[in-house]
Every structure is written in C-alpha cells, then in structure tokens.
C-alpha cells in the first residue's frame, strides 16, 4: 500500500521540492520516535509520583511494579496531608515567604529598572553593568557572611532575623538583579514619545512609571511575579538556614520532615504513597500555574535568556 501511494504522489511532490521522499518520511518517522521516547522518559518520574500517590503498600512492593494503581486510594492525599501540619506549612510558604517576597521584589525591581531604562543620567551604564555582573556572584559565596550579618544584627537587638523569614524577604526590598535586567529590557522597548508627552503635561517620573509604563508592562511584571513565586514556593536552602521551629516550616521543609518521620521506625505504613501524595500536592500549584500561564513562562525565559 505504501509504495503505491508514494509512486502515485511522486510527480506532484517532486515539483514542490524535496519534502516527502521515502527518505524524508523515514527521517520524519525517526524524529517522532525519538521525540516520543524522550517525552515518555521525561514524563515518567512525574507520572510515577502521581500514580504512586494512589497506591497502597502491596501495590508499592509488588514485583513486577504496578504501573496503573488498581484500586486507586484517593484518600491518600487527604490522609497524607493530615499526617503532619501541612496546612500550616503551606500558610507559612505562601503568606510568610512567597507572597511578601514577590510583592517586595516586583515593586523594588520595577523602580530600579525604570531608573536604568527611562531616565538619562551620567554613570547609568556603568552602574547597570555592575548590576548585571552581580547576577554572576554565586549565592553559596555570600550565604555564610549573610548568616553572620543576620546573627550579629539579632545579637545587637536590631530586628528579628534568625528563626524568621526576614533574611529571605527583606533583601527582596532592594531589587533582584535578574528581574531588574529583564524589566529594563522590557521598558526600553516602550516608545519614548509616551513619556515625553506626559513630561510636557507636567507628570513626574514616578507618575510616568505608575500611570504609563507599568500598565503597559503587565506581561513582564507577570513574568517577575511568576518566577519569584515559583522560586520561593519551592525554596529549600533559605529556610534550611534560618527556620528552626516546626511551626515556622515552609512546605519544602515539611516534606523532608515527613520523610524523616515515615522512615524513623523502619518503614511506616504507606510511607512512599504518602510522600508521593504530598510531593504531588506541592508540585500541583506550579504545574497548574504553568498550564494556565504557559505563554508568560515561555516569553519570560526568552526575555531573560536572549536579549543579552
């Protein structure tokens, strides 16, 4: 069947260029095969996380492994969530950490980016270059001296730092080099005439930023919000250093705590299903956010990665 179809189509295809030759078909088929194999292996760990969350112990331990949970224990999600104080951990993650740091970084980064993008002043380019260069400074290098600073501030009675989220959210008030860079690139693409017209009308620079630039920059601001929220929602290292009470734990530390609880006395019943259930619930908001804001994500990465 295939050879017949190919020969009958050949004269017409030949005129259109070297598109649908048997070799081309084979290459196209091979490409799909590679792509599907890659996609399957990339999706598998996530599938395994979700499907294992629905199993009971006999299904987890069975050889060969159970690929589709049957029966599926949907209660695992609720039971796992209730096996520790995950509602509190989620509250901490969102309201003590992710939301304040996202709001702080958006406001401060937008202000700074405006100063670098839309106000002309001597020394601007040199300072901007310095700002970009700081993106290359590894966090691991400043991690220890920052801890020393916060500890000494605490000892001196200046603010509460150790055991709180302040060491993670207060620096967000000072802008984030990465977002400053990204917003500046975006602000530069907006026509200068808009600002000039407003200046003629007597608007201040802050007024121009608030009333003209920001409303036009919603896509870029969405990228900042999305990336900062995602980064803080899953952050482990910051809380690991500064948070020392269970009642202050974020979700990320809570998951590791559950793992330790479940493996303390041999293996607790449903240890892996519970761990996978909580991991699924912690990853779900990010995955859902991605599917709703796919374009924002993709554009954001192109914006930050390319226009250097």
């Amino acid at each position: 069947m295939t050879p017949v179809a190919t020969t009958s189509a050949a004269p017409r295809v030949a005129r259109r260029g070297p598109r649908v030759t048997p070799a081309g078909l084979a290459a196209g088929f091979a490409k799909y095969a590679v792509l599907i194999a890659l996609a399957a292996s990339y999706a598998f760990p996530l599938y395994w996380m979700i499907s294992s969350a629905l199993k009971d112990d006999p299904q987890v331990y069975r050889i060969p492994p159970v690929l589709v949970p049957n029966p599926a224990f949907w209660n695992n999600f609720l039971d796992a969530w209730r096996s520790d104080n995950f509602t509190l951990y989620t509250f901490n993650s969102v309201f003590r950490y992710a939301l304040p740091s996202t709001v702080f970084t958006m406001v401060s980064s937008a202000l700074v980016a405006y100063g670098f993008a839309r106000v002309r002043w001597p020394g601007r380019n040199a300072l901007f270059a310095l700002c970009v260069a700081t993106m290359m400074i590894p966090y691991t290098v400043t991690m220890v001296p920052l801890f020393i600073i916060f500890r000494r501030l605490e000892e001196a009675g200046i603010g509460k730092w150790i055991g709180t989220y302040n060491p993670m959210i207060i620096p967000a008030l000072f802008g984030n080099a990465f977002f400053i860079f990204m917003l500046r690139q975006f602000f530069m693409t907006l026509p200068e005439e808009l600002s000039d017209a407003a200046r003629v009308d007597g608007a201040s620079e802050l007024g121009i930023l608030l009333r003209i630039i920001l409303p036009l920059s919603k896509p870029a601001l969405a990228v900042v919000a999305l990336f900062q929220f995602m980064g803080t929602w899953g952050d482990y290292l910051g809380p690991l250093i500064y948070i020392n009470k269970y009642t202050m734990f974020p979700l990320a530390l809570g998951i590791q705590k559950l793992r330790q609880m479940l493996s303390q006395v041999g293996m607790a019943p449903k240890a892996y299903p519970y761990l996978m259930a909580v991991s699924t619930l912690a990853a779900a908001p990010i995955i859902i956010l991605f599917f709703f804001a796919q374009r924002t994500f993709i554009e954001g990465i192109s914006l930050t990665g390319l226009k250097g």
């Binding site: 890659l38 060969p64 400043t142 600073i149």
Partner: protein, 306 residues
C-alpha cells in the same frame, strides 16, 4: 574634550544634576542592596577567612591558617574538589547538549509541539524537594521501579545511589532530566535563525548534518555560551539534590564543594574556614567564567547584530 573641560569647570547643568538625582533615586534600592547584601558580605567574608570564628569564643586573627588547613590538612577537601569537577565536567556539557538536541527536535512543524515542550519544561520548575522524593523512590534498591522490573526479569539490581561508582552518574541523570529552561531558551534562539540561511544551504546541496553543524550551531553559539556559563556557575554550587538524596554518601562519593562549605559553616560552626572555602570557590568560578568568555572568541559567532 570641550565637554570634559566644561565638566571640570562648572560641573553639570541644572537639568543634568536633576536627572542624575532622579536616576539615583530610582536605582537607590538596588545600590543600597548591592552595598549591604553583596559588597559588604563579600568583603567581610574575606576578613573572616583570616580568622577563627565560631560564635562562641572571641573572633581571632589567624592569618592564612584556614587556607593552609584547607589545602594540606582537610581530608575531605580534595575529595569534594574531585567530586565537584567530575559532576560539573560531565553534567554541564551533557545537559547543554541534551537541551540543544531536544530544542532542535521541537523546532519543526510537528503535531503537539507545545505539549512536548511542556513535558520537557515541567520537571525543571517543580520544587526540588518533590523531584528529590520521586527520584529517591525511583532509585530505591528495594522498591524502586527500575529495580523491581529487573527483579521480575531475574536480573541483578542496579545500586543507583548506594554504590560509589553509580552515585554521581545517577545524580547527573537527574540534572539532565531538569533541563527544561535551557530547552526553552534554545528553542527561542533557534526560531531567530533566519530561514534564508537554510534555504541557501539547501540550494548549495548541504545535507541536514551540514546545515546543523554550519548554520544552527554557529548561529546559536552565543546562547550556548550563556547556557554553559550559567550551568557551570550553578553546577559548582550543587547542594540540594545530593543533600536530600544521599547526604554525601556512600563513602563521600557525592559530597560536593557546596556541601563541604555548608557543613563547615552550619554543622561545625567554623565560620572562618567556611568563608575561606567560599572565597576559593568564588575565585575558581570567576576564573572559569572569565576564561570561558575569553576562549569564546574562537568558537562563538556573533552575527550581524549590534
């Protein structure tokens, strides 16, 4: 010259001064933040690296002692250096190559393109703890999915995380799995390559491989460089996955530089030594980055832009 002499005599005009003050006011949060959260920590950690500092006893100047100890009397140091270079040396080039390959596969008119892109991207955005828990489960010797299949087939199990030989490669596999950001960056840069270049090459009889090697790679080389640099900077700081999956074991085979630094600071409270380790890392990463940019003139192609 005229401008320079004007500046020398009278400084700036009133409007120039005004715009300088406005500009500085806008960037002042960052400028202050740079001084407080970057410059001061960097400089103070240089000072601490020459001191003994443990929060309990009085801080004490000890000259180069921390550095001498690190290089000559720290049994773990050379192990973590070896492990880190092993990991970075393999995971970064492999990661960039994998991401580039996937981006090229996606950069065509294929059905379900955004679906595939989503599949490749999602693993890189979910919280790292979640990934760690899943891989811990997948790699498990007793109930891991791969080993349970091997058992069903009567084959010996693969000790992914419990053998000295396999622990680092197993971590590299996780790194290759979370390459989504690089895929998306590459995909965007592939779409910027002018179609006409390929059309001209086809007319000249270039095959797929030629087109890939002589057009795609050179045109994307600035982005490849950027991804490599960011990959190296991140790779040298690898902490969370080994910390959660193996805690450095077995036999310190996954004990990396950042973990060694972490333990000195937050488990042993040797802040001075940890700062010394941080500065060594800073110098190594900076040297690496600068030399990568230097050699890049030879292999990075900057097209007609700018």
């Amino acid at each position: 010259m005229a401008v320079a002499s004007l500046r020398l005599r009278g400084g700036m005009s009133r409007s120039e001064r005004r715009s300088l003050l406005t500009g500085l006011a806008f960037v002042s949060p960052w400028l202050l933040g740079f001084l407080i959260w970057t410059a001061y920590p960097l400089l103070s950690s240089l000072y601490y690296s020459f001191n003994r500092y443990d929060f309990i006893t009085q801080i004490k100047w000890i000259g180069f002692h921390n550095f001498v100890e690190i290089f000559t009397d720290d049994a773990r140091f050379w192990t973590v250096v070896y492990n880190t270079f092993y990991y970075v040396g393999l995971s970064v080039p492999l990661g960039v190559a994998t991401a580039f390959l996937m981006a090229n596969l996606l950069n065509a008119k294929i059905a379900g393109r955004s679906f595939f892109r989503a599949i490749f991207y999602v693993p890189s955005i979910i919280p790292a703890v979640c990934s760690a828990m899943v891989w811990l489960f997948i790699y498990n010797n007793q109930y891991g999915v791969i080993n349970n299949f091997l058992k069903a087939l009567g084959q010996p199990i693969i000790p992914f995380l419990s053998s000295v030989e396999l622990s680092k490669p197993s971590l590299i596999v996780i790194h290759l799995w979370a390459q989504g950001t690089a895929v998306v960056i590459f995909l965007a840069s592939l779409q910027d390559v002018p179609r006409t270049l390929y059309e001209a090459a086809i007319v000249d009889g270039a095959n797929t491989w030629h087109r890939f090697w002589h057009i795609t790679v050179p045109m994307c080389s600035p982005i490849i460089l950027y991804t490599m640099v960011m990959g190296f900077i991140g790779g040298f700081q690898t902490f969370l996955m080994p910390y959660l999956l193996t805690n450095g074991g077995p036999m310190a085979s996954t004990e990396f530089y950042a973990m060694h630094l972490w333990r000195n600071a937050f488990e042993l409270f040797r802040m001075g030594k940890a700062c010394a380790l941080a500065w060594i890392m800073f110098i190594v990463i900076s040297t690496f980055t600068v030399s990568l940019f230097r050699t890049s003139a030879r292999w990075v192609f900057y097209g007609g832009e700018k």
